[in-house]
Each structure stands twice: as structure tokens, then as C-alpha cells.
């Protein structure tokens, strides 16, 4: 995953664990630039920022110091830094927890904010606007990347804590000194010296997505030392010269491994070396003078490595398919786009501030099961038919289409019509997944039905997740649960009950 849970140290406090970094032109106003960092993988509805972490996004001017196999991006010494601190919780009259914070701007001004305030807060001059709070996770990963197998989005319906800075590009970033920038984000603990030594410099940091979880700790490589914690202790824009050879070799080995994941060699050794060199300098490149769009991510690096002037502003938008862009580059050197099992995150980004989609409501879950005396194959031969009419509450079932995507229309005994879509089926594993299209007071309804062996018999698991719509959560849970139980109970006389 992008930078989700990327080292033993960062697992300590999830609110210090950075997941992603973004840099793009404001969709609302092209004269403004948006920088954003996400923390806390799979944050729940009440998640809060740590009160002792310094959450920072730092930007430096960059110059192209070499092209082709000598490609190099050189950071300036000066840093444009946005630094966020949050307080302990206060409680309102109703007992609801409120968290406030402060953003320290690059010129020393301070901007107070309240977490989860949708409109954020702006400086009186209007040159900077900030937001902090829970949002839908914009990152999506829909692969088992070690074996290049497509999966549904592994981060579907998850949330993150998000920090957004929107600034007037000209006044804050000063593009007159150059329009190319490199950005990083970091979480910095208090820098007090303890009894046994100095504090660590940072808990986590990020430049380009997947530096740690895919490039340094390539899941396709076996028996390798986990370098992620060591990497997280490096100083952004200044990786230890002593350790550079170690990281560089790992990056080269990693790219070579990615290259062969599809069995075809698409990279020349010298290109691997040059790319590893560029990736060793880990910052998110963006150019405010050129267009940044959903497809421009990594274009600056790729063009420069190819010896061409770059055409876009690179960066990373909220909706950029960063994992597939990266995977395609590493695995086949952009020969053929690799599209994973999802075409977007749970929710797309927004065109208005704070640009990151509202948080996902927690899904309701219903799960029922029954243990039967018959073999899994016998049970599956009945209930594994998507168009089968085995459920006692169904009067008629008709199918439209075939294979994945087919629709079944169910007419229930009480005269209601329900339409469901087959999303996945695995006959060998006796598993199917479907979604609801119409006929139930729900949204985001996904259900799975599965038959597994148990002893000499079998167990049938039927579960669903959904958001209730036009009905209370409780009412919908009761309805779905009753539906499942009635169906599963009807299997007992047919197949016998497991002893």
C-alpha cells in the first residue's frame, strides 16, 4: 500500500503513520496549489490526531541536474514548511470530543483550525487555507502485487485523517525562483533528549508513493532484510551518504524483480541503475507551471530519464491511479497499462475545498451461517447457482446476461422485486459475491455466499455489508438477517444438520 503501515516503528501510534502525500493544482482556482498528507490507515469515525506529533509538509525548489541515464533532481537548501500541531481533546456541552490545532506557515504566521471543520480556515490575507480531519481514503490498491493478481480494492470503504494546505502559488511558493518543486511529508515526535539518548528525528516520512512498501520492501522478493524502519529514520532531501549504497542496491534489485514479474524483461540494466538513482532521492516532484492531472504522476521522472523535457506538472492528484501508474512503469516499462481490479477509490475526489471526499460511514454488517451434514459440493450445486430458486422467500428468479455482471431479478413471495448483480464467483472455492442494484432500502450492498468443508459435512457462510437508506440501520439489519436465516434454515431438511 502507498505508505500504509510501512514499518515496525510507525505501527506504534496509527495517528503518526503516514499513508499518502499529494501535490496538485487547485481544481477551484488554477492560481493555487494544494498539498496534502494522509495519516492513520483505516481510521474509524472518531479518529483524532496525536497531540504530540508535528505533522509537516515540506517543499523545496528543484532543478533538473541531469538527464537520461544521468538524470538527477537537485533540491535547494531553503524549505517551505507547513507544520501542524494538535491539542488534547475538549468536550462540548453534549460531551462530543473536539480537537483544535495550529498550522505554522513557512513565514512564521500561525493559523488556528478545528479538526473536521469542512470549510477549514484561511489566513486574513487569503493566501493560505488549511483543513484537517477525517476523509475517505483516496488511495486504492486492487492487486495482490507479489503475483500480479487482480483483486477488489483492498482499501474499499476505509478512511484516513487528512491534512490539506491550499496556497496562493505565486505568493507562497515563489515560482519566480523556479517552477519545479519536490515535496515530502513527515511525522516528527518531540525532540527532547531522554535518559538513554536523543529522540528519533521522525516516525515516518513519505515522498513518492510506495518507496517503502513496494520498492524497498518488495513483496515479490523473498528473504530480504526489512529496510523500511531504517529508511524512515533518514532525513528527507539528505539521505545518509553511508547508507545510500545499501538503499540504492535494494532499489536496483527491486526494479529488476518487478521487471520480471510478468516474465518479460523490459528494462535495460543501465536504465534500472539510472531509475534507482532518481528514486533514491525520494520526493514528490511537481511543476506549477505545467498541467497536473490524474495521469501526470511520475511523468517528470520518466521523461527526464528518457532524455526528454517533461510535458506535465507531474505531482499527484486525489484521483491519480498511482499504484497502477507505478506498477506499469516498474513491471513493463510502460509497454502496456496494468489496470488493477478497481478503477477508483471508494469515492472520487471533490472539485471544491478540501478536495478529499467526505468520510465513509461505517457499513452495517450481517453474518449468518449453518452447518450441514452434506458435502460442500452437494450444497454448492444447489445454492451456488446465481439464478437458482432455492430460497423459500423467492417466488421467481430470472437472469439477464451471463458470467460476471449478470443480473438476477427476484420476485419475492410478498410481491417485491429485487435486482442483484453477480460481482465474482469461484466455483473451486464455492464462493460468490453480488451487489444489490434495486429493491432494498440500502446502498453499497455487497453480499457473499460461501460453502466450506467442515468435518465430514460443510458450513455455509452468508454475509452482507451495506448502508441503510430510507430505513433505520436496525430495521435493515433485521430484514437482511431474517432473509439469510430463512434461507439457511431451509437447507437443513434438504442436507441434514451436522452432528
Amino acid at each position: 500500500m502507498s505508505d500504509h503501515v510501512d514499518g515496525p516503528r510507525s505501527i506504534g501510534d496509527p495517528a503518526a503513520d503516514i499513508t499518502d502525500l499529494f501535490a496538485f493544482t487547485s481544481p477551484e482556482n488554477p492560481a493555487r496549489t494544494v498539498l496534502a498528507m494522509d495519516v492513520f490507515p483505516s481510521a474509524g469515525e472518531d479518529a483524532m490526531f496525536s497531540n504530540i506529533i508535528d505533522y509537516a509538509i515540506a517543499v523545496r525548489h528543484m532543478t533538473v541536474a541531469g538527464v537520461g541515464n544521468n538524470a538527477k533532481f537537485q533540491p535547494a537548501d531553503d524549505e517551505i514548511r507547513f507544520s501542524f500541531r494538535f491539542e488534547t481533546l475538549k468536550h462540548d456541552a453534549a460531551g462530543k470530543a473536539i480537537q483544535r490545532g495550529v498550522c505554522k506557515l513557512p513565514d512564521g504566521r500561525e493559523l488556528s483550525l478545528t479538526v473536521n471543520e469542512e470549510n477549514g480556515t484561511s489566513t486574513p490575507e487569503g493566501d493560505v487555507r488549511v483543513f484537517a480531519g477525517l476523509r475517505s481514503d483516496p488511495f486504492y490498491l486492487a492487486w495482490d502485487i507479489a503475483i500480479l493478481k487482480k483483486l477488489p480494492n483492498l482499501l474499499q470503504h476505509t478512511n484516513v485523517l487528512c491534512i490539506v494546505v491550499e496556497c496562493d502559488t505565486r505568493r507562497v511558493l515563489d515560482p519566480a525562483k523556479g517552477s519545479l518543486f519536490g515535496a515530502i511529508a513527515e511525522t516528527v515526535p518531540p525532540q527532547k533528549r531522554g535518559l538513554l539518548g536523543p529522540a528519533i528525528s521522525r516516525i515516518d516520512w513519505i515522498g513518492r508513493p510506495e518507496q517503502t512498501n513496494m520498492r524497498l520492501n518488495n513483496p515479490a522478493m523473498s528473504e530480504i532484510t526489512d529496510l523500511r524502519d531504517l529508511w524512515n529514520q533518514q532525513t528527507p532531501f539528505a539521505i545518509s551518504k553511508v547508507l545510500q549504497p545499501l538503499f540504492l542496491q535494494r532499489l536496483k534489485d527491486s526494479i529488476a524483480t518487478w521487471d520480471m514479474l510478468d516474465g518479460k524483461a523490459d528494462w535495460m540494466p543501465e536504465a534500472i541503475a539510472a531509475t534507482a538513482n532518481v528514486l533514491l532521492d525520494d520526493f514528490l516532484l511537481f511543476d506549477v507551471a505545467k498541467p497536473i492531472n490524474d495521469k501526470s504522476h511520475l511523468e517528470i521522472e520518466k521523461s527526464t530519464l528518457s532524455g526528454r523535457p517533461y510535458q506535465t506538472g507531474g505531482g499527484r492528484t486525489v484521483d491519480a491511479n498511482s499504484i497502477d501508474i507505478l506498477l506499469t512503469w516498474l513491471v513493463n516499462n510502460d509497454r502496456e497499462f496494468l489496470l488493477g481490479g478497481a478503477t477508483g477509490a471508494t469515492k472520487p475526489g471533490m472539485n471544491v475545498f478540501p478536495y478529499f471526499a467526505t468520510p465513509n460511514t461505517e457499513l452495517q454488517t450481517v453474518s449468518e451461517s449453518v452447518e450441514l451434514a452434506a458435502t460442500p459440493d452437494d450444497v454448492w450445486s444447489l445454492i451456488g447457482q446465481f439464478g437458482g430458486a432455492w430460497h423459500p422467500l423467492n417466488a421467481r428468479v430470472s437472469l439477464t446476461g451471463a458470467g460476471i455482471g449478470q443480473l438476477r431479478t427476484i420476485l419475492t413471495l410478498d410481491g417485491q422485486q429485487i435486482v442483484e448483480r453477480l460481482e465474482a464467483v469461484d466455483e473451486a472455492k464455492r464462493f460468490l459475491r453480488y451487489s444489490n442494484i434495486a429493491g432494498m432500502a440500502v446502498s453499497h450492498y455487497t453480499s457473499t455466499l460461501e460453502v466450506k468443508p467442515k468435518g465430514s459435512g460443510s458450513v455455509v457462510d452468508w454475509r452482507a455489508q451495506f448502508l441503510a437508506a430510507n430505513a433505520t440501520d436496525r430495521a435493515m439489519k433485521v430484514r437482511v438477517s431474517t432473509l439469510f436465516k430463512t434461507g439457511l434454515e431451509s437447507l437443513k431438511p434438504r442436507f441434514g444438520v451436522a452432528k
Binding site: G44, S50, K452
Partner: protein, 363 residues
């Protein structure tokens, strides 16, 4: 032993305990939601086990073991890899069902689980059961030396304390505390609590004042730390500071941990508030009964202590203590059973316990 400078040193800074507790619950709910989407998602079942165990250890959430049982059975049905028996083993260990846990680890080995994951769990079981302690100590020292991390140092300290090497345990715990460089308050509160236990209950010559400092510090890191509140309240009560003890226990009542009701009952009765005290004792009895009905092995030792004292049922206390010894014949478990037998005037039983457990006793 802890130097004054170290006790006075504020210790590493950590995220506020209230925020950390909210975030733990938040992360746990998020993991359960993902588990419901697909139980086989990489790392999710394991994350739930970790989060739920934290909730049990620090926040006194007594429903954790039920939820973990549910998780283990659902996961085992959904996943046919070696992950499932590893999770089942961890859940069984959490409920002190060590024989079951060993069985699951054997299955994990047969299904190709990573050797290190199996060995780590087996080590924890051996330590909890007080067997092969020389080998456990060597392994713990090895892990602690290799990583120097808190999560390896604290189990080493706990083992040294079990072996009554208190000064060495103290040194290891302090190293764990002051070498911690993350910002989660849970590990820090854990070490402080262990130091409180070391000097309040385990050391040959207890130092309640020092123990109280460590328990207080654990609560400072994590105000919702139920067990630290209970232990500190016991010290306050022994010093006749009933008001302070009551103030510590009242916020912990919401955890529904019967030990809170029990200690609060003692504090109330000591203040002459018999009716309130009796109500709390009834709640404690009922709470322990419910827990024992669901997870006998997990709560046998605590319940034995309750029934040997304010619970006033020595026969039951001895039964529970014997159950506990049979399940994990550690030095502490045997001592507890012997003490209960002696209080109950069952000298023969006490002697029998000693003999019965002699072979398995740690040395």
C-alpha cells in the same frame, strides 16, 4: 532498583491517553469492518487480535475474549492458509487455553507457517505455563539483545521477575521505558505497570511507595488503564487513603471488570458504607461468575483471589486456584494455591499442591 533520578524523570512523551484510547477503538472498528468485507484480507485478522488484546489489557474490556473467539472461528472457516491456526493459537493463548494453543501451533507448522511466528508464540506459552524456563530465558535474552525494542524487553523483564531476579527485572524494564522512541502511550503504560507490580507485589521486600509512583505514571499515560487503577487503589487503601482509592476506582466502574467492584466494595466497607459495599460485592460475585462461565481458565486466578478474600468462599477459591495451577503451574500460581489452602486450613492440600507441582515448578 530504580534510582530517584529515573523515577523523577518524566519519561518519554506520548500521545494523550484519551486520544490513544479513542484511536485504538477506532482502528479496531475499522479492522472489523474490513474483516466483514473479506476475512482473508492481508493482515486484518491479525490486526484485530492485536487491537482487541490491547483493549483487554489496558481498557478492561471483558468482551474481548468472546469477540476473539468469534473472529478465530470465522477466520478459520474463511481462510485455509497457515494464518488461521496462528490466529487461533493467539486467541486461545489470550484465554489461557494453552493446550489448545499448542495444538493450533502444531497445525500452523504443518500448514507452513513461518517458523519465527510459531516460535514466538510457543515461547510466550512456555513462559505463561512456567515450563522450560531456562530455554525461554535464553531466547528472551536473544530477542532483547537483537532488537533492543520495548516489546522484546518487557517479556524478558516479566520472566526475570517470575524467576525472582527482581533487580535485573527492574533494570530491563527501565531500559525498555527509556529506550522507547515511539509516541503510543500503551507500551509506556505497560512498562510502568510492570514496574508497579514488581515493587508492589512481586519483590521479596515490597516498596508500596515506589510501586504507587509507577502505577500513577501508568495512569498518567493512560487514564483508562483499569488494572493500574485497581492496583494503585489497593495501595491507597492499605495506607488508609480510602477517599483517594474510591476516586481512582469510580471512573473504572464502567469497564464492568468485577475486580473494580471488589476493590471498591472493600474501600466502601472500610468506610462503614456497608450497604453500598455489599452491592458492589454482589456485582463482583455476579461478574466473576459470568466470566468463569465463559472463560474459566482466563479468570481462574483472579477469581480465586476474590473468593479467598472478600468473596468469602474458600472452597471455591481453592478449586479455582487448583484449576489455575493445573493449567499453568507457575511459581506464582502455586504460591497462590498454597496460600489459599493454608487460609482454609487445608494443610494437606497445600502440601499436596507443592508436591504435585514440584516437577513443573520454575527454579
Amino acid at each position: 532498583m530504580t534510582s530517584v533520578a529515573e523515577v523523577e524523570h518524566p519519561g518519554p512523551a506520548a500521545t494523550d491517553g484519551e486520544i490513544a484510547a479513542i484511536n485504538l477503538e477506532s482502528a479496531c472498528r475499522g479492522a472489523w469492518a474490513r474483516f466483514a468485507q473479506d476475512p482473508r484480507l492481508p493482515g486484518v485478522a491479525e490486526e484485530i487480535v492485536d487491537s482487541e488484546r490491547l483493549a483487554s489489557q489496558f481498557l478492561g474490556d471483558l468482551d474481548v475474549l468472546d469477540r476473539l473467539d468469534l473472529l478465530a472461528s470465522k477466520f478459520a472457516r474463511a481462510d485455509d492458509s497457515s494464518r488461521a491456526p496462528l490466529v487461533q493459537a493467539e486467541v486461545a493463548s489470550a484465554a489461557h487455553r494453552f493446550d489448545d494453543a499448542r495444538g493450533y501451533l502444531a497445525r500452523a507448522a504443518r500448514t507452513g507457517a513461518p517458523r519465527e511466528a510459531i516460535e514466538r508464540q510457543a515461547l510466550a506459552i512456555d513462559q505463561a505455563c512456567g515450563v522450560e524456563l531456562d530455554a525461554v530465558l535464553a531466547a528472551r535474552r536473544g530477542f532483547a539483545k537483537a532488537s533492543g525494542r520495548l516489546e522484546d524487553l518487557v517479556p524478558l523483564g516479566a520472566l526475570l521477575a517470575d524467576l525472582e531476579r527482581f533487580a535485573e527485572a527492574d533494570t530491563v524494564y527501565r531500559r525498555a521505558l527509556f529506550s522507547y522512541d515511539d509516541v503510543s502511550p500503551f507500551p509506556l503504560a505497560w512498562v510502568c505497570f510492570q514496574l508497579g507490580m514488581l515493587w508492589g507485589e512481586l519483590a521479596a521486600v515490597p516498596d508500596p511507595a515506589l510501586a504507587a509512583i509507577w502505577y500513577r505514571r501508568a495512569i498518567d499515560y493512560l487514564p483508562g488503564y483499569v488494572k493500574a487503577r485497581v492496583h494503585l487503589a489497593e495501595i491507597y487503601a492499605s495506607q488508609d487513603r480510602m477517599g483517594d482509592a474510591e476516586a481512582l476506582l469510580l471512573p473504572a466502574l464502567s469497564s464492568r471488570d468485577p475486580e473494580v467492584n471488589w476493590r471498591l466494595a472493600d474501600v466502601l466497607i472500610a468506610q462503614g458504607r456497608f450497604e453500598e459495599g455489599e452491592r458492589q460485592l454482589d456485582a463482583a460475585r455476579s461478574g466473576f461468575d459470568q466470566l468463569l462461565g465463559r472463560h474459566l481458565l482466563a479468570f481462574a486466578d483472579h477469581a480465586a483471589e476474590f473468593y479467598a478474600g472478600s468473596g468469602n468462599d474458600r472452597r471455591r477459591a481453592l478449586e479455582l486456584a487448583r484449576t489455575s495451577v493445573a493449567n499453568h503451574p507457575t511459581r506464582r500460581a502455586v504460591k497462590q494455591a498454597q496460600a489459599i489452602a493454608v487460609i482454609g486450613g487445608e494443610a494437606a492440600a497445600a502440601s499436596g499442591l507443592h508436591e504435585a507441582c514440584g516437577a513443573g515448578m520454575p527454579v
